[in-house]
Structures are given as C-alpha cells and as structure tokens.
C-alpha cells in the first residue's frame, strides 16, 4: 500500500532568510555568449504587485538535456561546466523577479515528438496554500510553439498567450497574474 502524501501549506511571509539567502537567479554569468535575461512581475487579482513571492525555474540546457539521472540523452555540459537548470528569485523589488539563463533546447513530449523549448515555473507566496505551476515559452519559436502539445491543447488564444514571453529589446518579459483579467495559465500534473 502506498503511503499517503503530505499536504502542502503556504510558504508564508517569512521565508527569505532561509530560501533566498543565496542569490540563485543567475544560472549563467551575464557575460555568457548565450545569456538571456528573463524579467517579470507577479500581480494579484486586484492588479497589485506581489512583493513577497518566490519564483523558481527548472529547465534543460541548450541541447535539451535536463541535469537529472532520468535524462541521459545528450551532453550535459555547457562550456565544460555542469548547467544546473535550477533558479530561484524573490520579488521584494516591487513584485519583480529576474533570471539570467540560457535558452533551453527542445525536449521530448509524451508522444515522442519534441516539445517547444520551455522553462518550468513554480510560484510560492503567502496566500497560495500550494504553489502554482506554469511554463515560459519563447516568442521566437512560432513554428515549434504552434505544434507544441501543451500550447496547442489550449483553445483560447488569449490563455495560450499568457505562456509566451514577450521580447522587449533583448529582455524577455514574462508577467505572472495569479487571478483576474489575463490570469496566467496554470497547470496540474497528470497522474
């Protein structure tokens, strides 16, 4: 018999000294040739910024390889160093988070076809009793986005759009709206 899962509880307002004591928002150096910057703001249902959230990302390297034993398909390294694929940013600066990373390559989908390049995102904050999960897709991947099994399963184009970052002069903007007009699309996991 399987043991029963431990329930989620909110991260609360006081996590910063434990979870954000090290800056993990730069997955690569800003000087890296392939570095990209992702910025966004977390908003609540009243349109106010959420300055006490934590945003985490998880992604493959440019070859589409995750740094995890379940994935041994391609070369793990990035310029000879291990690319962790994990990042974490607070939002204390007016609800804003940011990451410096590299664009991930495509990874396999459930039917064996490649998924469009994407970054997995978790958001934790006071007022969320469990995290919300979303994905960042890339605006320069029009063709792959059109055939991506997750994006193309969403019928409403406005909802689909919430998952694609906007290119703002070299910075990719990905705002997260927890509730209300333009709410970001959030996921639950297939069993």
């Amino acid at each position: 018999m399987s043991p029963e899962l431990t329930p989620s509880q909110t991260v609360g307002p006081f996590f910063h000294d434990a979870l954000l004591d090290e800056d993990r928002s730069e997955l690569v150096s800003p000087d890296h040739l392939k570095a990209i910057k992702i910025e966004g703001t977390v908003y609540d249902g009243a349109g106010d910024v959420v300055p006490d959230a934590m945003v985490e990302i998880w992604q493959a390297n440019p070859s589409g390889r995750y740094n995890h034993p379940a994935d041994d398909r391609h070369d793990l390294s990035l310029d000879g160093e291990t690319f962790s694929g994990f990042g974490r940013s607070g939002t204390a600066d007016g609800g804003k988070f940011s990451f410096v990373t590299v664009k991930p390559g495509p990874v396999h989908g459930p039917d064996g076809r490649p998924q469009a390049p994407h970054i997995m995102v978790s958001v934790f904050t006071r007022g969320l009793l469990q995290r919300v999960v979303t994905r960042i897709y890339f605006p320069d991947e029009v063709e792959r986005n059109a055939t991506d099994h997750v994006l193309s399963s969403i019928e409403d184009p406005a909802v689909r759009e919430t998952l694609v970052a906007r290119d703002e002069g070299g910075v990719l903007r990905f705002d997260i709206r927890l509730q209300g007009e333009g709410q970001t699309a959030f996921f639950e996991f297939e069993e």
Partner: protein
Amino acid sequence: MVQQARGGAVGRRRGVDGVDPPYLYPDYKATRLRAPKEPLIILPKTLSDTTGPAYGRGPIGELDSDLTRQHAGEPLGERIIVTGRVLNGDGRPVRNSLIEVWQANAAGRYIHKLDRHPAPLDPNFSGAGRCLTDNDGRYRFTTVKPGAYPWKNHDNSWRPAHIHFSLFGEAFRSRLITQMYFPGDPLFEFDPIFQSVGDPKAQQRMISSFDLETTEPEWALGYKFDIVLEGRNATPMENH
C-alpha cells in the same frame, strides 16, 4: 490530448483527492486575491516534470542542521530534535535530497524584518536550517521549539507553533513546501491555514509525534515527522 480540469482551480490532485488545500480558502484572507480561479490545465507527464533539481544550492555545512549552534551563544527555549524520513509515493526513501527549514524563535518571533510581533528577537537564533537526506531518506535537525504567534488574518488570530519545510524530492512534480506542527496544539481548530486541508487524516500527516527514542536524556526532546512526496520510482531512472 490535454484536458482542462473540471470545477475550476481547486488545486492539483496530488495522489488521493483532497490531500492538498484548495487555492481559494476565504477564511485565509490572503487567498482571496491570490488564488487562481481559471480551470487548471492538465500537464501530460514528460521529462520536464519527471526530472527536477537534486538540490538547488551550494555545499551544506555541518552547522546548517543545528539551529542552536549558529551564533556565539545558545538560543533561549526548549531544545528539540526533529527527525524523520522523506519517502516517495512508493514508500521508498528519497535520498540525498535538500530540505530547507525556517521557523519563529521560542517567543514566536521571526528574524524577518517585516515581522512586527512585539515579542523579543533572540540574538542567538536565526531560525533557518538545511540538510540533505541520507540513504534511508532520513534527516535530522536540532533547534528550539517555536512559539505560537499572532497574525492579522482575523480578530485575535494566532498561528499554531510550526516549522516550515521546503523539499525538492526526485522531480519537479514532487516539489513541496509544507509546515510541521506539534501534537496537541489547542490552536489547530482556529487556524485557517491548518484547516484549509479538509481531510482530518491529511491534517494529521502535518503533525509531528513526540518520540521518546529520539529524545536525548538531559539534553533535548525528540519529535518525529515523516514526509511523503509525489512521485514513484518507476521512472526511466530505474531502467539504467
């Protein structure tokens, strides 16, 4: 084919229905403007969520798991040992996995600059720790028992004493942040965060148990708290 979940954003169905609290729980006021209300989209299982960060930080120091030895002197309060195992959905140990904890001091005060509770800070207590699970999935922290503290959710609202736990587990989908409570706390029935977990059996799984075997004579009381994360070992990992 991806389907949209029925019934709005009630929360993901981890394991049995009703394990996790819903996003919207109006008695916990902060959920009212932060809970998503659109239906969740079901994400088919792929490498993107069956992989995940092993642990997301630099080396763990010896003192990181002893919250009573991070300063020149000892913190005030009831010294306790908190230990347990982290398991996956198959009951197998989650090994070498990061646990991060944070908590109020014995007076119910967090070191955080936005905590305005007029209780004393303790110069010998920061209330943050971390450790890795061992080959049996076991972890162990030494700390002091946190105090209950007031908050501004409703008139005369108090949080039961708790320690926050952050866990990564084996995959992105197993990521969990929860709170560990202490047995017999009279505040459970008044706390909307605790009560947001509707199933009384699931509520019990957030409460540690006093453990005489963990207790060290003339030193510290022991509490046990096992944690079960989403995910099974029948991943491609098992085939290599």
